[in-house]
Amino acid sequence: MRLRAGLFLACLAALPLAAGCGGKSEPVIKIGFSGPLTGDQAPLGEDMMHGAQLAIDQANARGEVIPGFKLQLAAMDDQRSPTQAVTVAKKLVSDPDIVAVIGHLNSNCTMPASAVYHQARILNISPASSNPQISRQGFDTFYRTSATDDMQGLGAANFAYNDLGARRVFILDDMTTYGRGFSTEVEGHLKRMGAEVIGHEGINQGDKDFVPLLTKIKSQNPDLLFFAGMFPEGALLIKQRSDIGLPANFMGGDGLFDPALIELAGGAPAEGAHLTTITTDISQIPTAKAFLEAYEARYGPVGAYSAYAYEAANIVIWAIQQAAKKDRAAVLAAMKEFKDFPGIFGPANFDQKGDPIGREIGIFTVENGKFKFVKTAAAH
């Protein structure tokens, strides 16, 4: 028995050694990627991964980015867990072939992982994390292609107050980094504009029964129910709101921008719901046409963050090209020269903190079972 235990420990110690061998440099340049690839957010993570993959394949098809090297995507699953995100980040930075990392999706994953990338001096672009605090850490390695929640919050509040005429608002969020951050911005702006926020409560992700909560909200007669969260809970709120006959308007953010929202809500109850997105209608942007066609031909409809991952991957590829060598420091340094990049949302630029400049907030509504672009909301 003791012998067996000893053997077991020896094996345990030896296995990582065995696994660690063979990390020899090959004629590839890898771009790291991390997001949730298993679990309930796997579809969002896969959409992101597909966007990045498409950009890399297109670049390889155009010829070698740097003579002698092929580009490759090294994707890893962070299971949307902050602890796992750090583990994955360390795994990515320990691979010498990886010169930049695209990821993560959830703000609470990007936050600790960005510190690992910063310490390893490796370029990190997040295509989805929108919490403003991430870029306030002052990491020169961090950039993001998605708009931040303070921009979206202002856009959403503007539309709710001016266009929907909301004066009595009940706000719900899903108690995540994203939901709480976004809803706090919306609340602040609405109050400043003069609307009355009659309640602000959290719901638990994964909860199903919101009828008691909605019954309470109904008895307080709001004219708008605002929800900052993801589409599974959003769909349930929309459906149960219609079940109990709550007449208030419904509005949400980009976390709801998924066709599944309408399907899960049962179609009709979703009609007339509004939501903000961190871009204008992508199909209206001429520069995005080629991307949309290529993506849809290969993977089907674009997901919420596909385009941002595609953009992030193209920026990384640009930086590698500028660096003209397989070197993390050179790739990172190349980003200093980044200006007016011909991105799919128009000329792309970053501010001092690495946040994108000039992103517009789009307003969509559900009409005849589809998202329909309404207008661009002011977010300045």
């Binding site: 579809p43 199903k208 008691p212 109990i244 899960l264």
Partner: protein
């Protein structure tokens, strides 16, 4: 709406959720009663029931059956699938380790729970699935209180199943054998009661009730996800303990009380604090009545 109407509405809301909790809690409490196992995988069995119903609904919807026929077909089909699953789990996972220390069975149950949950994810995908209800949407307004046909069916079917189970346990030979097995397994075996079969049937019946719970859950909320079983299962387990684990009427009462607590918690306090509220009540209750609402003192044999 007057505040009294709101209050009655909230009671009705809580009762719906509580009925579903009660159906699942019965499975926990029956299994616990006979072999003192917290069957962690029971929440997953409940989810299997929900997915089995979803498949059945998609299968039979082209037939154009009257809705109540479709409902019965779904309930029977899901109960069959889950009953088989419960029986198999007992036979292959729990029986071989029945004589091992008690926590081993708990670990097996946790392992089985991971396994089933991920199997569901692999088969049906990780995203939420829309769950078409076979029950038509009918809404009544009774004195300012909104009731739906769905709610009434949830109440009626769980009440009927609980009454049926109570009759089974108290009036039939099998029920008697179950109660005897719960009291003393060895003595039962000596008296010629087929203990193994009784235990298996306990799993099967508990799983069938969970299947119906899964069906009602899916139809009531309209979406299901592979990890819904975890949270709902944990709540149902709480309900079973609240009522006094091992005690069948206790599980029903516990389920209803928990549903009401959650409903009133979300309705009058705050939805983000409702689980804290629920658990605090639970802890307080256990401090004053350490064996749950209807629990007997059999548990304190130490």
């Amino acid at each position: 709406m007057t505040s009294l109407q709101v209050f009655i509405q909230q009671l009705a809301n809580g009762l719906t959720l509580g009925s579903i909790y009660a159906l699942i809690a019965l499975g926990y409490t029956m299994v616990y009663g006979v072999i003192q196992l917290i069957n962690f995988a029971h929440g997953e069995v409940f989810m299997v029931g929900a997915y089995a119903t979803l498949m059945l609904v998609l299968l039979i919807s082209p037939l154009g059956l009257p809705w109540w026929v479709a409902l019965v077909v779904c309930a029977l089909g899901a109960a069959l699938v889950c009953g088989a699953l419960g029986g198999l789990a007992e036979q292959f996972a729990y029986r071989p380790i029945r004589s091992a220390p008690r926590l081993n069975a708990l670990i097996t149950a946790i392992g089985l729970s991971f396994f089933l949950q991920n199997a569901l994810m692999l088969i049906f995908g990780a995203t939420d699935r829309q769950f078409p209800s076979v029950i038509p949407f009918v809404r009544w307004n009774v004195g300012g209180i909104t009731l739906t046909l769905m709610q009434v069916i949830v109440w009626a079917s769980s009440a009927a199943l609980m009454a049926g189970l109570q009759a089974l346990v108290m009036r039939t030979k099998l029920g008697k054998a179950m109660r005897a097995t719960a009291q003393d397994r060895t003595a039962c075996a000596l008296l010629g009661i087929p203990v193994d079969r009784v235990i298996r049937l306990t799993f099967v019946i508990g799983s069938m009730l969970a299947a119906v719970g899964g069906m009602l859950f899916g139809m009531n909320y309209g979406t299901i996800n592979f990890h819904d079983g975890y949270l709902t299962g944990m709540k149902a387990f709480t309900a079973a303990v609240l009522g006094g684990i091992g005690n069948i009427p206790g599980a029903m009462v516990g389920g209803l009380v928990l549903g009401l607590l959650e409903g009133l918690g979300a309705g009058y306090l705050s939805s983000q604090w409702k689980n804290v509220f629920t658990f605090l009540i639970l802890v307080a209750l256990l401090l004053f009545k350490p064996t749950g609402l209807l629990g007997e003192r059999v548990a304190e044999r130490a």
